[in-house]
């Protein structure tokens, strides 16, 4: 069975941390009572603790899957711990008493708008927020508490000279093996047959919050007002009409790419159970080549409409995740097969010269050597490859190769044929380079979204 799956790539080098994605999402979907604390899209500062605090620590939150004796089990079920996070694990939502600014009597001091709780309406002392590490300058306190420091001598990177940072925007990963769906005894969570978007049926949901605990990314939010749980819906009303989700549409850094991929449903279980060192590879193996006639035949047989097959061929996600292998799934060790994938940051290329006016020893020619980058490979591997550093190196090497190639052509005046050896060494072609340039540098045609018509979905089989 071949399925189509909607997917997103986020290129972290391009994120400028402006939070426009979060704000547009908030205004469109969660600007309601009961959801004040909820950010279907949020942007985190790394190293840092994220939102909710230290969400990656599953010993604390009990999300995701555990592979045991060749079987997958929900961690929450294995631990028998069904407790969802507390409001303080997220943050106490607040606004400001702006009215004071207009009504205060004339005094020596300027009037101040004080923070007011959005839950109780009373004045509160704000001590934590959804991106406290960044906005409120808590980095020195929180950077060290990042769970991704595993096997990294973090002290080196926390001092002034070795410090690094990048932003990590997050939405629901619309996983192929979603634990939120499996954990729901009411069967309120479902994964759409036609595009794999994971949704919560607000009629079936009774607010048990097992899904909140089961999601290792903490991307299901309990609405305390309605008593039901909610999550990112991949802006499906927009998606169905060929438009990108609002977070993507509004992204200032143009970091988001949206497309569909085709995958082999019979490989899902194996991929989810794969040993950690090859779990990224297993997830890639599951994704099929939309140009392969056999895949096309099987996709049609499975009821995938032709416009989805066509879109899969033009999908930036297919190229970045499968073909070029520059995108990586976030925390694949949770075994959910997340379908939002990230191009890891190279971190800004350092351009300081040494005393002799030459680039320092950390550089091969002009561009840096992968293992001498500011961000430790191990840190990125912990976040994006279940600790497999080679996957990260492979991605970063290609990102550098593309820079070397264009520098050779545009700065050093080599012919593209001459310079293409740089590409070939890294398994890329000149066509790949042009496509990468168009997508990554110029940011053109960042989403390829097939419209979804009901009559085209008739032949799609139900999920088992």
């Amino acid at each position: 069975m071949v399925r189509a799956q909607v997917s997103m790539v986020m290129v972290l080098d391009k994120c400028i941390g402006c939070h426009t994605c979060s704000i547009t999402c908030k205004h469109v979907w969660t600007n309601r009572e009961g959801m004040e604390y909820a950010w279907w899209n949020n942007v985190e500062t790394r190293p840092g603790v994220g939102y909710p605090v230290r969400w990656e620590d599953q010993e604390r939150y009990g999300g995701g899957w555990v592979a045991e004796n060749g079987k997958l089990r929900l961690k929450l079920e294995k631990d028998g711990n069904y407790k969802p996070p507390n409001i303080n694990d997220y943050y106490h939502p607040f606004t400001y008493d702006y009215e004071t600014l207009f009504t205060e009597e004339l005094k020596e001091e300027q009037p101040t708008a004080n923070p007011v709780s959005l839950l109780t309406g009373e004045r509160i002392d704000v001590r934590w927020g959804p991106n406290w590490d960044d906005d409120l300058a808590g980095g020195d306190v929180y950077a060290g508490m990042d769970p991704n420091w595993k096997s990294v001598e973090k002290e080196i990177y926390l001092n002034y000279k070795g410090v690094f940072m990048f932003w990590l925007p997050r939405i629901c990963n619309h996983c192929i093996n979603p634990p939120c769906l499996v954990s729901c005894p009411r069967k309120a969570v479902y994964k759409r047959e036609e595009d794999g978007i994971v949704l919560i049926d607000q009629v079936r949901c009774r607010g048990y919050r097992y899904c909140v605990t089961a999601c290792p990314y903490k991307k299901v939010y309990y609405n305390w007002k309605t008593g039901k749980s909610e999550k990112c819906i991949f802006c499906y009303p927009r998606f169905e009409t060929g438009q990108a989700p609002v977070c993507t549409e509004s992204c200032v850094g143009r970091i988001r790419y949206v497309g569909v991929v085709l995958y082999d449903e019979s490989m899902v279980e194996e991929a989810a159970k794969a040993p950690l060192e090859r779990i990224v590879e297993a997830q890639r193996d599951m994704i099929l080549d939309p140009w392969d006639p056999e895949v096309v035949r099987m996709a049609r047989e499975s009821g995938v409409p032709d416009n989805f097959i066509k879109a899969a061929r033009e999908s930036p996600v297919y190229y970045m995740f499968k073909k070029w292998e520059i995108a990586l799934p976030i925390h694949p060790e949770f075994r959910t097969l997340p379908m939002v994938v990230y191009v890891p940051p190279l971190n800004p290329v350092i351009t300081t010269l040494d005393r002799r006016g030459l680039y320092s020893a950390d550089y091969r020619d002009v561009l840096p050597i992968i293992d001498e980058l500011r961000i430790p490979i191990r840190y990125l591997a912990n976040m994006f490859a279940a600790g497999n550093e080679e996957e990260v190196r492979k991605a970063l090497r290609k990102l550098i190769a593309i820079r070397e190639y264009f520098r050779a052509v545009n700065v050093e005046g080599q012919s593209s044929i001459e310079a293409s050896r740089i590409l070939e060494e890294n398994g890329l072609s000149r066509e790949d380079a042009d496509l990468m340039y168009k997508w990554l540098a110029i940011g053109k045609e960042r989403w390829v979204i097939p419209t979804s018509k009901k009559e085209l979905r008739i032949g799609i089989a139900r999920r088992g």
Binding site: Y37, L76, E77, G80, Y82, K83, P84, P85, N86, I87, Y90, H92, P93, L119, T120, S183, P185, R186, K187, D201, V203, R204, R206, G207, Y208, R209, Y210, V212, Y222, W224, K225, G227
Partner: protein, 313 residues
């Protein structure tokens, strides 16, 4: 269904549960099947849990064990509820109390807060003893679900998938079932409740008209006997949904009303009103006698008419 058969079923069911529990390593919950008798009250049924009537009645202590049949399995532990029941000419009431060191109610922003709750499950039809885990298509169950501090719902489980969309619509349910357990239509949401939490103890009274006005609603017939299961969710232990403690099937007997009331056995659809209990308190005793007599006459007439029809055909 005669009493002997019901008792046998109750015993069999409790044996099965006991055996199941033993195999699943959970405490024995129904080694002895308590019997709950609903007392006839000639007058009003007080909604106030502190009313004298509830103090006068004998409470039946029921032991509940962890639900360990379906996901999510509840960590092994036990809990108790103390219950009493009473009925009058028009209504049936249950008094339930239990010790609970923490009062758990939902609060704004209470993302990890789960309210204390209890439920009672009855067979829809009193000639059956359905599957204890929320019934089956052929043997549905009727559930009263109370959640602290004041929510009460009438639910039905088991029947949903056995009915056609047309039948479901006629019953006031959504065309297709959204869940194995469903809320009955608004017109059948006729339980009223009152609860207090004091000194580490919840006291709850729920009251409903005893007749049945819906095919999926249990009727509480004077002198009748039917099964009852109790469930409890302890909020401080994050219990909700399948994470709960339950009893086995027990027997609920509505004692025979005193002479002069005993022939009121036909199902009479009692008009529903949420203020009925308060009204009853103001109605003089003689009205009940008159109403009772009228009902007897009506019942007798119906009985005679029904007897005549087949012989004439």
């Amino acid at each position: 269904m005669n009493k002997g058969r019901l008792l046998a079923l109750v015993l069999l069911a409790s044996l099965a549960i006991t055996a199941g529990s033993t195999m699943l390593d959970t405490p024995l919950v129904t080694a002895q099947t308590p019997e709950l008798v609903a007392r006839f009250v000639n007058g009003s049924l007080p909604l106030d849990p502190g009313a004298k009537l509830w103090a006068d009645l004998d409470l039946v202590e029921v032991t509940l064990g962890s639900q360990s049949i379906v996901y999510p399995l509840t960590p092994t532990s036990v809990a108790t509820l103390r219950i009493a029941a009473a009925y009058n000419l028009s209504h049936v009431a249950f008094y339930i109390e239990w010790d609970d060191p923490s009062m758990d109610v939902e609060v704004p922003g209470g993302l990890d807060v789960f309210a204390d709750a209890v439920a009672m499950q009855f067979p829809v039809s009193d000639d059956s003893l359905p599957y204890i885990c929320m019934g089956t298509v052929s043997d549905p169950v009727y559930i009263v679900y109370w959640k602290a501090p004041e929510m009460v719902e009438a639910l039905v489980a088991g029947s949903g998938y056995g009915l056609s969309p047309e039948e479901r619509e006629a019953l006031g349910l959504s065309k297709t079932p959204k869940s194995p357990i469903e809320k009955l239509p608004e017109s059948e949401q006729d339980w009223i409740s009152s609860a207090t939490y004091e000194d580490g103890k919840w006291r709850l009274v729920v009251v409903r008209a005893s007749g049945s006005s819906h095919p999926l609603e249990t009727e509480f017939r004077p002198g009748g006997e039917l099964g009852i299961v109790l469930a409890r969710w302890e909020g401080s232990e994050y219990e909700r949904g399948g994470l709960k403690k339950i009893s086995g099937w027990m027997s609920l007997k509505l004692e025979e009303p005193p002479v002069g009331f005993e022939t009121v056995t036909e199902t009479t659809t009692v008009e529903k009103t949420v203020t009925v209990v308060e009204e009853l308190e103001r109605v003089p005793y003689s009205v009940f006698v008159v109403a009772g007599l009228a009902l007897i006459v009506a019942a007798a007439t119906i009985y005679v008419m029904l007897r005549r029809r087949p012989s004439s055909g």
